[in-house]
Amino acid sequence: MAAEGLPCEFDVVILGTGLVESVVAAACSRVGQRVLHLDRRSYYAANWASFTFNGLLDWIQRRQEPPPQPDELQDWSSLLEEGEELIYLCNADSSSVSNVQVFSFTREEEESVSPPSTTEEEEAAAAAEVEEAEEETTQSTDIKEKESKEETFNEEDDGQAAGVDGEEHEAPPPDNQSRKKVSYSELLDKGRRFNIDLVSKLMFSRGSLIDLLIKSNVSRYAEFKNVSRILTCRHGNVEQVPCSRADVFGSRQLSVVEKRKLMRFLTSVVEETEQQTAYSGRPYLDFLCEQQLGDNLQHFLLHSIAMVTEDTPTEEGLASTRHFLRCLGRYGNTPFLFPVYGLGEIPQCFCRMSAVFGGIYCLRHTVHCLLLDKSNNRCKAVIDSRGQRISCSHFVVEEGYVATERKKVVTPTRSISRAVLITDASVLPAHSDQQVSLVTVPPVAAGAPVVKMVELCSSTMTCIPGTYLVHLTCQSVGSAYEDLSPVVTRMFNTPESHDQETCPSVLWCLYFNMVDGSGVQVQGHDLPPNVYVCSGPDGGLGHEHAVTQAESIFRNILPDEEFCPPAPNPEDIIYDGDSAPSTGEEEKQGEEKGEEEAGQSERGEGTGVEEVGQSESGEE
């Protein structure tokens, strides 16, 4: 609606709104850089995005259309000035996603399902313009949400009861009702209440992303839920993994001896011992065997707590065990948080922060080429999709926009296998149906990948009541379908599974492969030194890779500036005299809070805003 043009001078131009790009945008704007942030797509967060059900169907359809004819390469050479050269970017991002397959097992289309079929459903989906029926069920969601919160904080009686319930009653009563099948049209009608992430990750409570969110105050834009339990799949059964002290003591699966052994192990592992160092270089599994913990505990410790494989070296296994334990108990009974409305919120939160500090945002807008200053080999400007020349000192770009021949990627390219399921019940029903679970699934056969599964309930606002959203992720061995369908068939009830009426039914599922971003370097490509490449999502469970990358890009651009210092609390801001009389209350706060932040007041000039130093609550 706004046909106005963009300004033509910026410090940093950023193309792509994935997590890395968005963190860089927030960090740069925050310290006063003029940032222009663009994305060719109509939505935020690129391959980190989350979609409504209908939005996801559109996304799928776009993957399956033949790639659009590459835009007639517009010749921008007329815009060249002396001593300049053009570097064209590419606009195809479909290459990062492949092997898309969709199956629908809902009531109406029972026959239409034979793998791999897709197009009919999508056409049906696209055809059905969805008018939302608003009223119903929201209030009950609120209540549920509250229940599940209480549960998470009542650490005493939480988890263990859940584990046992699931074993004793095959299908506990409250579940029977919700297993009334949800139809496909219901999925479409209530589609906007799904928030389906393309990536599946969790936030380690003491991981770099949570630290960054808190440090920068970006956390004020999002809400989080605890992952309420960690499950594992063992001998075909789903079991709860006891993590915290309360879990261990409360567990009815563990014998008294096992409880003692586990507690002793978890307490001792925190400190480095000679015995541990003696095992360095040897598999963690050997180290665990040496502790004579028994099969049960060994399985939990290896697959669910360290989350490593059988041949991971001991030092690595110990490091991840310690990380797990450090994260435990910061917010709840497990080491993880999950953002309400899905992970796709997080990049947007950073974009909001950037905008609040003056960053200019423009979706559906791209950069066609870079202008290279031949005298110093630096990118001095970009040409946008309207042929406007925009000068910049730095250019940050999502990997997908960089032409293959200019990229230096670790070969062979690794990829991630993903599956997204909408199911009608939890893999481990418990007294509350509002559980957020991480399920670790060891390889189903030799050579098969380790699968991480996250099951989300409706109070995370990612799916509708009566359904669960299940994300499966692994490093690709074959296609996503080849890698993950054996796990799906084993743990869920699908037309391909046998004798599994007691398992949750899959209503709808999607498989796809995505390029693993961990193989992409920030620099070292055939690009000017002030152009920085951001990778897409990596296969790890946490966000370490993305945050580290964003910080390193920021350090390259602004070596002397602080990375994401806290944004002022709006309540601590006073408005200076000539434009705004500050209220008595604000003045009082101002006095208490003391000195102004230098540098910031510079920016405040002309806008009448002055910032008061934050109360250093972090240090108290």
């Binding site: 609606m1 706004a2 106005e4 935020y44 409504t52 939302e132 009223e135 929201t138 209030q139 609120d142 209540i143 919160k149 650490e155 906007r192 949570i210 969110l213 808190i214 440090k215 956390s219 004020r220 834009y221 999002a222 809400e223 989080f224 839920k225 002290r245 309360a246 435990l328 108990g329 910061r330 917010y331 409305y341 796709g344 947007q348 939160c349 909001r352 905008a355 609040v356 500090f357 003056g358 200019i360 945002y361 423009c362 979706l363 807008h365 944004a567 709006p570 309540e571 434009s579 705004a580 009389p581 910031q600 405040g604 002309g606 806008t607 009448g608 805003v609 910032e611 972090g618 108290e620």
Partner: protein, 219 residues
């Protein structure tokens, strides 16, 4: 506000009576085309001034004003678009958890009125189902330049079951009324919800997980 203590590996959350003195906290979010006067409305209400220039307010996330309604203290947290509406690039997360939306257009600008359905689509897509939406026609001080008749806007608002109000941020017409009416409506709804749930339902805006998240830096 939650305060977090750690003892052993067990987290303990203590609900501390908020240091701030209010009965309700509501998040109000402004939307509408660029230049219709959203920021002016907020600043008029929260600071009692009409900013002469159109300089962006850098670094300000939201503004706060506590009002008293029938003896109850209501804290209003009013969020602005941070300029992301200029190129139709508002993040979805901006709409989340808003208790009320103020959809603003400029009565002297037909185009800003014609864009309303587009904004309503975004609301439907991203905002909470229970969000209270109010349509505001701003700039009535420029009556001679009016392009959108009051009746037309009223009909539109009624068809969409929204409240409607015309304001002037410049002359301070109806600005106070806008926010106070909204606050009353939100209190009414909050009480209704509490009744419906027959439970000590959390007041909107309270008990957000975020509260203790930010408090965790106390460790």
């Amino acid at each position: 506000m939650y305060v977090y203590y750690q003892s052993g590996d067990l987290p303990v959350f203590v609900f501390r009576m908020s240091m701030e003195d209010y009965d309700y906290l509501f998040k109000i979010v402004l939307i509408g085309n660029a230049g219709v006067g959203k920021t002016c409305l907020v600043r008029r209400f929260t600071q009692g001034l009409f900013p002469p220039g159109q300089g962006a307010t850098i670094g300000v996330d939201f503004m706060i004003k506590t009002v008293e309604i029938k003896g109850e203290k209501v804290k209003l947290q009013i969020w602005d678009t941070a300029g992301q509406e200029r190129f139709r690039s508002i993040t979805q997360s901006y709409y989340r958890s808003a208790n009320a939306l103020i959809l603003t257009y400029d009565i002297t600008c037909e185009d800003s009125f014609r864009c309303l359905p587009e904004w309503l689509r975004e609301i439907e897509q991203y905002a909470n189902n229970q969000v209270v939406t109010i349509l505001v026609g701003n700039k009535i001080d420029l009556a001679e330049k009016r392009e959108v008749l009051r009746q037309r806007a009223e009909d539109f608002a009624e068809a969409q079951s929204m409240l409607y109000l015309e304001t002037s941020a410049k002359e301070s017409d109806n600005v106070e009324k806008l926010f106070l009416d909204l606050a009353c409506e939100l209190i009414r709804e909050a009480k209704q919800n509490k009744l419906d749930n027959n439970d000590t339902a959390p007041m909107p805006g309270e008990g957000k997980t975020i509260n203790y998240l930010s408090c965790c830096s106390l460790n």
